[in-house]
């Protein structure tokens, strides 16, 4: 196991940021720490990096006990949400920094920097200052800088949080492809479930300082361990007191299934090929149902229609 976190606790005054967190992050894998803001994921990442210290518990990286090691000695690469670019140095100098610290010979540094700038497609900006780059470019520079020292682990703290939607998507794909090429153990923090689902090999869901579930994107989506994971990773609605995905609900205009719940349609929204129904059940539940347009038309559903709702066979329910 590449990174072992054991029984880590961290408080800030009265606020408990991490509550007895233990998790193992495999070597060579791209793992996401996913959760709502303030949930503790950034804190955990920073503790792994050594940029914050845990109150108790231990961290080991590639078998080495790292709990009391300063960040300089952990051989990590860290990418910050707001880039943390060295503003007074050129892009090339930024990337070269870690190598210069390690007193590598100049020709080696030049070669590595050129290689990395090529990898992140910033070769033509080598002599520019960070202020002259766009946000996305600055983040790519930050990545190159972190990779230059050949870290054991690459840690990214909401790396695309400060960028606009389009750039975020581009960089997301790009990070995935980069990882496939370079294969360094990578951990990144995000609050965007779409990002985690798209990019990560494995996701650790963290909420209120605790690990809710660890698993692949499919596992988390199809077999959520609890309410929180289910609602965080996708749309949910309540049917018969249980959480269920709106597209997993079968709608009929005649009472067919035993146990089907009766209600009437209070609102019909057409969005592209999807139709979203808001149904008020006789028991007073408000249920959101998603179905295809074709289906809706076939059933002849309109506002006020009486409908009978039941779960699709094999639907995920919590």
């Amino acid at each position: 196991m590449s990174i072992e976190v054991k029984n880590v606790n961290k408080r800030f005054g009265d606020f408990v940021a991490l509550d007895d967190v233990s998790v193992s992050l495999p070597t060579g894998q791209l793992t996401a720490l996913l959760g709502p803001s303030g949930g503790g994921k950034s804190t955990l990442l920073r503790i792994i990096a050594g940029l914050d210290s845990a109150d108790s518990g231990s961290i080991s990286i590639e078998g080495t006990e790292a709990t009391h090691l300063p960040p300089q000695k952990r051989n990590i690469g860290f990418v910050f949400q707001h880039y943390a670019a060295f503003k007074h140095m050129s892009v090339a100098k930024n990337v070269a920094f870690g190598l210069e610290i390690r007193k590598r010979p100049k020709p080696e540094i030049e070669r590595k920097v050129a290689e990395l700038l090529d990898l992140v497609h910033l070769s033509q900006f080598a002599n520019r200052l960070p202020a002259q780059l766009s946000g996305g470019q600055r983040q790519r520079m930050a990545l190159a800088r972190a990779l230059a020292v050949e870290p054991t682990v690459l840690l990214l703290d909401e790396p695309f949080g400060a960028l606009d939607a389009k750039v975020r998507k581009e960089l997301r794909d790009w990070l995935r492809r980069l990882h496939d090429e370079v294969h360094v153990t990578t951990v990144f923090v995000t609050h965007d479930q779409e990002e985690a689902l798209e990019v990560a090999d494995e996701i650790v869901v963290i909420n209120q300082g605790r690990v809710e579930q660890v698993g692949t994107p499919d596992q988390l989506y199809d077999a959520p361990a609890n309410d929180f994971v289910m609602s965080f990773l996708g749309d949910v609605t309540t049917l018969g007191g249980e959480l269920i995905r709106p597209h997993d609900i079968e709608v009929d205009v005649v009472p067919g299934e035993p146990g089907a719940i009766e209600g009437s349609v209070s609102r019909v929204l057409r969005i592209g090929f999807e139709v979203r129904l808001t149904v008020l059940t006789d028991e007073g539940e408000v249920v959101t149902v998603e179905l295809t347009r074709t289906n809706a038309r076939r059933l002849g559903i309109a506002e006020g229609s009486r409908v009978y709702l039941s779960a699709v066979r094999g639907a995920t329910r919590v």
């Binding site: 050594g50 940029l51 914050d52 210290s53 090691l69 300063p70 960040p71 300089q72």
Partner: protein
């Protein structure tokens, strides 16, 4: 964002304490301890030192004169300072940058040079405008107008430097809105602009006051140091000390220092309130 790196191994207690001791030690030896001694000298015989000093008619006159000159200078600088700030921030004109640089000039000029400059222009006998003004009954040098001018000069930048950044940050959106609603220039100024910059004005005024009370070199040159007539408190301190009336010198110094520190405390106390109010 946090201003203190929390990384593992980041804080070396030895270095932290070393720096603290260095700084505190330096400030102690340079400022605190000597200042404490002035207080000690002043109150060496309890309050009698100050009482005797206050009974000296020269002292009374000097303190009164200092107060009058300072208040007048501060008022003039207030009007002028706010005006110039508005001019610099809201209007564009050739030479604006030069003006801005010139406003800072008084901070770098020796007070004696200030006094000299004023004397050369306004001296009754050989100045540029001096003879003309005196022929019309206006005496600048060796009289209070000169002292007010000298004090104005040295404290000139203080209000401007406080008000300009605030004016820039405020932007003129609100003023434009007011004008679009029909407010006249004066109404816009008094109801919109002034409330926005009022804390900056207060700091500027207080700092100006401290500076004006303390002015020494320029005033000495311009006023001629005639005891009981054109001697300000600061000039009095020098004279008393050199005449071996040291207790009086220390007492008056203490009063001046006390006023200056009071100004600093007022500003320090008001700053947090101001930042709570800012947009």
């Amino acid at each position: 964002m946090a201003n203190h790196s929390a990384a593992v191994g980041r804080r070396s207690p030895a270095l932290t304490w070393g720096l603290r001791i260095l700084v505190v030690g330096y400030l102690l030896m340079l400022v605190l301890w000597p200042s404490w001694y002035v207080v000690q000298h002043t109150f060496a015989d309890g309050l009698t030192g100050i009482q005797t000093a206050l009974q000296d008619p020269d002292v009374q006159h000097a303190l009164l004169l200092t107060a009058q000159v300072s208040v007048l200078a501060v008022l003039i600088n207030l009007v002028f300072g706010v005006g110039v700030s508005l001019l610099l921030v809201r209007y564009d004109f050739p030479g604006r940058r030069a003006l801005s640089a010139l406003i800072d000039l008084p901070l770098s000029v020796s007070p004696v040079v200030v006094g000299l400059a004023l004397v050369l222009v306004y001296n009754g006998r050989y100045g540029w405008f001096g003879p003309w003004l005196e022929a019309h009954g206006i005496q600048i040098i060796f009289s209070w107008p000169g002292m007010v001018m000298a004090t104005c000069f040295v404290a000139l930048p203080l209000i401007v430097r406080e008000v300009v950044p605030v004016l820039e940050e405020l932007g003129d959106d609100q003023e434009q809105a007011a004008r679009s609603l029909g407010a006249s220039g004066w109404q816009t100024f008094s109801r919109i602009t002034v409330p926005g910059i009022r804390w900056a004005i207060v700091y500027g005024v207080v700092l100006s006051l401290a500076r004006s009370l303390g002015e020494f070199g320029a005033v000495k040159v311009v006023a001629g140091n005639v005891a009981g007539e054109t001697q300000t408190a600061t000039v009095l301190v020098q004279q008393k000390y050199q005449n071996f009336e040291q207790t009086t010198a220390y007492s008056v110094s203490f009063l001046l220092a006390f006023a200056a520190v009071l100004c600093l405390i007022v500003v320090a106390l008001l700053r947090p309130k101001a930042s709570k109010e800012s947009p």
